[in-house]
Amino acid sequence: MKYVLMFTGSQDDPSPSPEVYGRIMEWFQTNGSKIVGGEELQGTSTATTVRFKDGKPVVTDGPFIETKEVISGYAEVEVADLDEAIALAKGWPGQGAVEIRPTIHHGPS
């Protein structure tokens, strides 16, 4: 199954220390065979939200929800089941939290 792991960081937190950064790189390398995509994201100060109000797009500054926890990056992984995805998330060296969501498979099965 395919899952997206969404990594959160704190709004106020500066970017990870070089040491943590090194371990994050290591995480991507170790789990390389299961990772099919993913990126680190710029901070929410760079975010722009397009919101549909009465069907009309309205462009605003900032993320779609103002919270302390913000998504700082994501990885798409291809694994057998949720337990494997949880195992990957448990090994994540960053701070904050990791949200795991299965993706919906469209097209012929």
Binding site: M1, L82, D83, I86, A87, I100, P102
Partner: protein
């Protein structure tokens, strides 16, 4: 808690409950394995149980109830799979399976238990799903046990089943490091189930009793995972409570404190059996919180009278428990043991240190009230009892507190 003499109808119901308990989980486990879809399999079994519940009380329980249920479930499953293109390939498999006698099948229920108690499900969903899929409860029975509506439980079950399928929660027994963590999760679910049944019990007979079913489930986990001493610890803890359950309520249905219980009503043979089991767990040399709590319950259960209670031993066990599980509630209970070893003043100092964390917990105030009385501070004790009363809605506990307040006024 079921007690007293049972009528013929009640005996027939007991027999029915036993069949459901033993067969529902096995059948669900087999169907999940064949169909490969938890959502569909669980629903088919529940529907099958409902049919049996309608027929059996009238026609009697069939000679081979497992085979009856398997045949009925198979018929439903075939109907279901015909309608759903995703399962076409499973049809042939299903037609061949579920015909071999049950006894030749491996017991698959452990996988089922781990799936129902997966940490990615909410605790409420874990409880409801385990009761239905493993212990053969019907939705109305779960609703009654948790004093909620059938639709609320049904919704909880449907959501949980969907999550299992859509989020890819696996149907297997975890291995290695994960196993220990996941066993703890299962035990926590069963302990919550037990407490819900035990504390909320009113003495009124019900067809299914949560505390007894939790004990049955814990026994099943012990049978399937015989090398887990903490599972044995939980089972013993439950059995020691159940062995003394009859003495917990008086004729009027009021709660009787341990100190005042008629110990001749305790089931000594059950207590001895449970303690023997705890010794087997102890021999595995992997202590844990459930084994320690069971050992504390065993100290109480073995004491011939309240005065004969071995408090120094209980305090030692609490010291060990606090090291493993340093929660404020465990520290509060340790303080009660401390009172009997070192006195009320020392115990009160320990209890007062928990004021910040337990200000909203009625037993914190009730314990303080008792210690304050002993130290001659009647006014402070009254205030603490009043605060405890404000914080609990449990009728049995309220009655105890009201009695204590009345005694202060007398």
């Amino acid at each position: 808690m079921r007690s007293g003499r049972r009528s013929t109808t009640a005996q027939a119901e007991d027999a029915l409950v036993q069949v459901f308990r033993e067969e529902a989980g096995r059948l669900t486990a087999r169907l999940v394995r064949i169909i490969g879809n938890f959502d569909v399999a669980e629903e088919i079994v529940q529907d099958t149980l409902l049919v049996a519940l309608e027929k059996w009380p009238k026609d009697g329980i069939p000679d081979r109830p497992a085979a009856w249920l398997a045949t009925a479930a198979k018929r439903r499953a075939i109907d279901h799979l015909r309608r759903d293109a995703r399962f076409r390939q499973k049809l042939e498999l299903l037609k061949q399976e579920l015909t071999t006698p049950e006894s030749e099948e491996p017991d698959d229920r452990l996988r089922l238990i781990f799936t129902c108690c997966h940490p990615a499900l909410s605790r409420e969903a874990q409880v409801a799903l385990t009761l239905r899929a493993v212990a053969g409860f019907t939705t109305p029975e779960i609703a009654r046990a948790f004093l909620t509506t059938e639709s609320a439980i049904a919704q909880r079950i449907v959501r949980a089943r969907r999550k299992i399928v859509e989020a890819g929660i696996p149907y297997r027994v975890p291995e290695g490091q994960d196993l220990d963590e996941r066993v703890q999760e299962v035990l926590a679910v069963l302990y919550l189930m037990f407490n819900e049944g035990y504390l909320a019990s009113t003495g009124k007979p019900v067809r299914r009793d949560l505390a007894e079913d939790a004990e049955w489930l814990a026994g099943l986990v012990v049978r399937l995972l015989p090398a887990e001493p903490e599972a044995i610890g939980l089972l013993v803890l439950m059995r020691l409570h159940l062995a003394r359950a009859d003495a917990r309520l008086d004729a009027a249905g009021d709660l009787v404190l341990l100190r005042d219980q008629d110990r001749s009503r305790w089931k000594r043979d059950l207590i001895a059996g449970a303690i023997g089991l705890l010794e087997q767990a102890g021999a595995m040399r992997r202590p844990g919180p459930y084994q320690l709590q069971a050992a504390i319950a065993a100290c109480h259960a073995e004491a011939a009278s309240w005065e004969a209670t071995d408090w120094p031993q209980i305090l030692l066990l609490y010291d060990a428990l606090v090291r493993l599980l340093p929660t404020p509630v465990v520290r509060l209970n340790r303080a009660v043991a401390l009172r009997h070893v070192q006195g009320a003043a020392e115990a009160l100092a320990e209890v007062d240190a928990l004021a910040g964390e337990l200000a909203g917990y009625h037993l914190f105030h009730a314990t303080r009230a008792e210690l304050l009385i002993e130290l001659g501070a009647a006014e402070k004790s009254r205030a603490a009892s009043a605060r405890a009363l404000e914080l609990t809605t449990n009728p049995a506990e309220r009655a105890v507190l009201e009695r204590r307040l009345a005694e202060l006024d007398a």
